[in-house]
Symmetry: D2
Subunit: 197 residues, 4 copies
C-alpha cells in the first residue's frame, strides 16, 4: 500500500539533494516519477537545485487553488510523486496527497520545513505532521554542534523575529540560519554568539 | 543537552506500557523521575494504567491554566519528566516543556495521539510535532494488517464523525478503533468491513 | 510483503515488555500469533516475563538443531511470529526466519541482544543485523545517563570479562548491567564509578 | 558525547551523496572535517564520487594494517570524521573508530554495505553493526518496488553467486544490482524477471 512521507529538516540540511538522489534511484531502475513544487516558491523558477550542484526541472508548479489530485489523475502511470518545498502548499492539498496514496496507490514523498522563523508551523507542514504515514527527520547541526531545529531569519545580516511568514532565502536581503532551540532563543534575547560562518 | 520527545501512536498502541517501562528503567538505575498527566484526562483518575496490567500513580495532574515550568522548577533534581496523554495539554504548555529542556536541562518524554476521531490535530500534539527535538512513532496495526494512523470513534458500537474533540474511551458508550487511512475512509463512507474483534 | 524485524537493545531495556504489548495488540484485533524462544534460554522455563509484571507462555521452545521453517509450516494461519531472546538461536535458523517472510509471507519480529559481555556479537544476532529487513533499537540508559549499548557481567557483584559467552542472568551469581561504551571500558580498566543502584 | 554511526544501504542507494551533503553542512558552518576511505577501494582513486555528479578528494586512504586511531590523533581539531566504503576496513579498525569517539570525543560517521553478493557480512560492517552507537538505513528500492537489501553480482550481465567477496563495481565486467530478498533468491534460482533497467 502506497504511503505519504514527510521528510522534514531545518534550512540547508540537504532536503533537495536527497530528493534528487531518490528520484535518480527510481529512474535508474526504469521507474517513472514526477516532481512538483508550490508556485509560491520563487527560488530557482521551475528548477530545483541542490547546494551540491545537482539540479532538475520541476514537472508541475502547483498553484494554491490547484488540485494535486487532478495532477495525479493525469499521471497514473508514475511510480512516485515527489514534492519539494512542501511547506508552501495549502493544507487542503496535503489531504489530497493522502488521498493520492489511498485512491491511486501512488507513494508521495514530501520534503520541507516544519516551522517558520518564529517557530510557528507552516500550515501545510503541520497538516503533514498530523496525517503522514511516515515522518522522518533529515538532520543538520547548529553552529554549536547540537541538532538544528529552528530557522532564524536575518535581514541585512541582522536577526529578526518580525515580518511575513514567507520570505524566500536570498531575496530582499533575507538569509536564514538553522539553529538548535537553545541558540535560537539566546540569539533572540540578544546573546548572539559570533557566527562561525 | 536535554531533549523534548514526542512518542506518538494511535489508540491502544501501547504508549502507556512504554512510558511505564521507560520510567522503570530510570528508577532501576537510581534516577529520579516524575510522571504528569493533564487533568482533562478522566480515565483512571490520578493513575495511569497499561493494558498489560501495570499501573502507576501520577505525580501531578496538570490543569489547563497551570504552569508546567513551575512544576519543573519545584523538581529540579529529577532526571526525566514523563507526560502521558499529552494531547490534552494546552499548546502554550508544550512551549513550556521545550523551555524545561533548555533552561533546566531536564529531558521531557511525551506520549500521546496525533489526531482526533475526525483526523484533526489535537492542538498540543500539533505544537509538539512542530517543535519537539525528536518525534518517534509507536506503531500498531489496523484490522487489515496495515499500520494504523487514525482513531475512529464509535458510539454504542456505531461509527461516527460527529461530536466533541474530546470524549474519553469507555465513558458515555464511546469506544475507539485505530485504523489505517484506507479503512478509516472506507468505514466513514459506509463500506464498513466486519470488525475482526 | 512480510518483513523480518530485529528489535535489539541492551539488557533490561524492556524488550520483553514490548514483545508482550505487540503480541497483545495483534490478538486484540483477532489476529493469531505464536511466540517462540530458544531452548538455550533457561530463564523462566517456557514462560517469558516482563519486569513490569506481565508474562506469557511460549508456544515453542526451539532447540539448536530444530527447523523453525518447519514450525512455521505447521502454523501457516498465524499473522505474526515473535521470537524472544533471539541471540540464543543458531545463525542458520536466522536464515530460516528470513525464508519464512519470503516463502510464507509471515512477518517475524525478533527481540534480543546484539553483543555479549565481551562486546562480541552473538552469532544469531550478528546474522540478523546482516539480513533483517528492519533493524530497530530499543533504548535504555547507562548509569551515567548516556545510552547503554554494552552488557557488563558481574559475578558475585564483581565485574568480569572472562567466562563463557552464555551465562543466564540470575544463575550462578551472575548479574548484568547495561552500560555506555565509555563507562564499560572505564569499568574494565578498574576505574569503576560507584554504582547508582 | 561523540557517537559512532553506521549508515548502511544497498549498492547505489546514495550513500556517497549523503556523505558529501553532510560534509558540506559541517564546512558551511565553519567546522573542520576529514574524509577517509579504505585503500582497498579502487574506485575513483583517492576521490569519492556521487552518482549525482558531486565529488571530493579523500584526505586519507587507510591501509589494512594502518591505525585509524593514529590518524585521529593527528587531527584532534576536527569536528567529525567521515568514512566512505567502510565495509573494506578491517574489523579491528572499527574498534578503533569506537575508541576515537570515546577517547577523543570526535563523532565518526561511516557509510557502507552490510553484506556482499552472497549475503555474507563484510567483516568490518558486521563489527559496526555490533558496536555502533547508532545504525541507520539509507533506503533504495528493488526492481519490484520493494526495499532492496541484497547486492546481486553480475559478470558480463550474468547473475553469479561465485567469486571473491570483493570485486569493484565497473572493473572486470562486474556490475551489481540491489534487490529485495525475494527477487534475489528468485533470480538465483533461475527465475530472473526481465530487468527494468
Amino acid at each position: 500500500m502506497a504511503k505519504l512521507y514527510f521528510k522534514y529538516g531545518a534550512m540547508n540540511c540537504g532536503k533537495t539533494t536527497i530528493l534528487l538522489q531518490t528520484a535518480h534511484n527510481y529512474e535508474e531502475r526504469g521507474m517513472k516519477i514526477i516532481v512538483v513544487k508550490p508556485s509560491k516558491d520563487l527560488k530557482a523558477g521551475d528548477n530545483i537545485q541542490s547546494r551540491l550542484g545537482a539540479e532538475r526541472k520541476v514537472d508541475y508548479l502547483v498553484k494554491p487553488d490547484e488540485s494535486i489530485l487532478e495532477i495525479a489523475k493525469d499521471n497514473l502511470d508514475v511510480d512516485c510523486i515527489f514534492v519539494d518545498e512542501v511547506q508552501f502548499l495549502e493544507p487542503k492539498q496535503i489531504d489530497e496527497l493522502l488521498k493520492i496514496t489511498i485512491i491511486y496507490d501512488i507513494p508521495v514523498i514530501c520534503y520541507g520545513l516544519r516551522t517558520d522563523f518564529k517557530t510557528n508551523g507552516f500550515p501545510a507542514s503541520t497538516r503533514l505532521l498530523e496525517i503522514a504515514h511516515k515522518i522522518e527527520e533529515i538532520k543538520t547541526m547548529c553552529r554549536c554542534g547540537a541538532k538544528a531545529i529552528f530557522n532564524a531569519r536575518f535581514v541585512n545580516g541582522k536577526l529578526t523575529n518580525e515580518g511575513d511568514q514567507v520570505a524566500i532565502d536570498g531575496f530582499d536581503n533575507v538569509t536564514y540560519e538553522s539553529m538548535c532551540p537553545k541558540c535560537y532563543y539566546e540569539a533572540l534575547n540578544g546573546k548572539v554568539k559570533k557566527l562561525t560562518k
